[in-house]
């Protein structure tokens, strides 16, 4: 205890009297190390989280209602919707119907009936345009053309991957038609077909939207002869994302789980996404660890040189009866000081500058808007690791020099 007190005092004075530029430089190195540790894995994980966020924003929302395992549709959809309307915590929702169809272009221009037809197998979503837009902001994802209106008929929105022009960059992997906004296309479900005009083209980082077409719900039900109004999916946006678990619980308690499966966004996440996140985190931490090694060597050298140049004073302190542990602590305190201040600044930069910056200006990846993800708890443990390693890197050289023979140190021998 006494050693700690005296060590603290000696260490504090040493920091106080040391060259401020050197101190700033060391703290800067520690800050970069900390950033390296947080940011590398943060961006890797952020790639996935950015994708997740986009899915949550533009597709699945905070709560997803889907058919029970043994059913094809959500049962009692109409009463469920009525219930949802009564929840003040639900700020928006969208009822979705979907089915498979064939989309055909060029059928009018094709004079020669033996020529190849230009068709693509597509997924059709029947939506209430206004509800869907409030829920997922579909109208903001228009690459071209205009959004659907409730009072119109015969218009369709087509996902970019179904169109040759947009899907070409991806090679030949998608089944496409050669059409553009304003073109007439034919939609066929079995024997039934209907002509639609392409009103707009939607594109998103979320593939579910690129690989979908949208028509108003009324027309969908007519085409698919779905008179019972039982839908395939209801997605819900809660007032704030954090309350979704609670709202989901209340929905279940209201008895809705007898008619449909109710999941929060997190529950609905595919396992592979969670696994990729974990892997990226490990990978990022590994890369960041190289930074820790560099930083600990830096600290080691700094403390070693510092203690070596004060070897005589260390000898004198021992000579007049100061315990070895007190002197060692003085040097460990310095290392701790660098690590604390460096990490603190690193954390400030991460949470006050980098994260808000990447939130506003995501890194553009093909499949995601990359953000910087730094879970405070993970950050804290990384800090603890960095801190402990720094302490060791400060302690070892101090210990090496403090344990040298007292008289030799005083006399500067050997």
């Amino acid at each position: 205890m006494l050693s700690i007190k005296i060590g603290l005092f000696l260490g504090f004075r040493q920091i106080q009297r040391s060259n401020p530029w050197t101190t700033i430089l060391i703290i800067f190195v520690m800050m970069l190390t900390f950033l390296n540790l947080i940011a590398v894995s943060g961006i890797l994980v952020g790639l996935i989280e950015g994708a997740e966020r986009a899915v949550r924003e533009n597709s699945l929302g905070d709560i997803i209602i889907s058919p029970l395992d043994e059913e094809d549709h959500i049962l009692e959809t109409v009463s469920i919707i009525r219930e949802l309307e009564a929840y003040p915590e639900i700020s928006a929702y969208s009822v979705r119907y979907n089915g498979n169809a064939t989309l055909e272009a060029n059928y009018k221009e094709r004079r020669d009936l033996s020529g190849e037809r230009d068709t693509a197998a597509v997924i059709i979503n029947g939506i209430n345009p206004k509800q869907e837009d409030e829920m997922s902001g579909l109208s903001t994802l228009l690459r071209d053309g205009e959004y659907l209106r409730d009072d119109e008929e015969g218009y369709i929105l087509v996902g970019a991957y179904y169109l040759k022009e947009y899907a070409e960059n991806f090679g030949d992997i998608f089944d496409t038609i050669d059409a553009k906004t304003g073109d007439t296309v034919r939609l066929s479900i079995g024997d039934i077909s209907k002509e639609f005009t392409i009103k707009g083209i939607v594109e998103s980082k979320v593939d579910e939207i690129n690989l979908a077409t949208f028509i108003p719900e009324r027309e969908f039900r007519r085409l698919f002869s779905r008179q019972d109004r039982n839908a395939e999916q209801i997605v819900i946006r809660t007032a704030t994302p954090e309350i979704n678990a609670e709202v989901s619980k209340n929905l279940k308690n209201d008895g809705m789980s007898d008619y449909a499966k109710i999941q929060t966004y997190e529950e609905g996440l595919p396992k592979f996404l969670i696994d990729i996140k974990k892997t990226f985190n490990v990978l990022g931490t590994f890369i960041g660890s190289i930074g820790i090694v560099v930083a600990s060597i830096t600290i080691f050298i700094i403390v070693f040189i510092n203690a070596m140049s004060r070897r005589r004073h260390i000898g004198i302190l021992k000579g007049i009866g100061i315990k070895r542990s007190a002197i060692e602590i003085a040097y460990v305190i310095q290392a701790a000081f660098y690590a604390l201040l460096g990490s603190f600044l690193g954390a400030v930069v991460t949470y006050a500058i980098l994260i808000p910056y990447f939130d506003k200006n995501p890194i553009q990846f093909p499949f995601s808007d990359g953000i910087l993800s730094a879970d405070p708890e993970v950050t804290f443990w990384k800090f603890v690791i960095l801190f402990i390693i720094t302490l060791i890197a400060g302690f070892v050289p101090a210990w090496m020099i403090v344990r040298q023979n007292t008289l030799n140190s005083i006399l500067g021998r050997k």
Binding site: G321, K323, T406, I410
Partner: protein, 232 residues
């Protein structure tokens, strides 16, 4: 009563062909309250002897009792504690901690003894007053002259009222006036508080106030005398 009892002390350095036999069998007794000067030519082994007597080094052979404690074979941390509680040191080149103020330098051994901050600070100031550094409490060593630094070192040595003070050529780096002041200071301390002082010096002038002068030559004590006897 003898506060230091050393018998047949040998100190050798190195091994094999390169062995140097520096202390060649020294017997010495120093009484409680005595002021002893060790004199001799450079290289005679004065410092080496002092390191043995002050528990900074271990003799190759021999026995040393300090204040009835056998210091041979003590563990490193026991020695450190022993030095802290029983001995005070004044080194040739001041040996202050450059990051600490005069007051803090003096406080160090007091704090290590477990004395409270306030108490240590008060004692340090009194000690600095004693050596004539009343308004230099807060000065860093770098801001003090050599003589002043040596006085801080003395203040540090005496603050804890150790049984014995060891001083190895405390005036060697000082001009003659500062050197004289340091010697006078040590003499006063000895007179006032009756502390045992063992001082190495090669200035006969500085040794004349001592109770006893021990002369060394080539690792042995060649004669001892009382400086008062031949004064007239």
């Amino acid at each position: 009563m003898n506060i230091i009892e050393a018998k047949n002390i040998h100190r050798k350095f190195g091994s094999g062909e390169l062995i140097t036999h520096v202390l060649k069998g020294i017997d010495i007794q120093i009484k409680d309250g005595e002021f002893v000067a060790i004199m001799g030519k450079s290289g005679a082994g004065k410092s080496t002897l002092m390191y043995q007597l002050s528990a900074l080094d271990e003799p190759t052979d021999g026995e040393i009792l300090i204040d009835e404690t056998d210091i041979i074979g003590m563990k490193e941390n026991e020695r450190t504690a022993f030095r802290l509680n029983t001995l005070g040191y004044v080194f040739q080149d001041y040996a202050l901690v450059p990051d600490l103020s005069a007051r803090e330098n003096v406080m160090m051994p007091l704090l290590m003894r477990g004395i409270t901050w306030a108490e240590a600070s008060k004692t340090a100031d009194e000690s600095l007053d004693n050596v004539g550094l009343k308004d230099k409490y807060l000065n860093l060593p770098g801001m003090l002259s050599g003589g002043e630094q040596q006085r801080v070192a003395i203040a540090r040595a005496i603050a804890g009222k150790p049984k014995i003070i060891f001083a190895d050529e405390p005036t060697a780096n000082l001009d003659s006036i500062s050197g004289k002041q340091i010697i006078d200071l040590l003499t006063c301390l000895h007179k006032d508080s009756g502390q045992t002082i063992v001082m190495v010096t090669h200035e006969p002038e500085y040794a004349k106030n001592c109770d006893r002068i021990i002369n060394m030559e080539d690792g042995l004590i060649v004669d001892e005398k009382n400086p008062w006897i031949n004064r007239y």
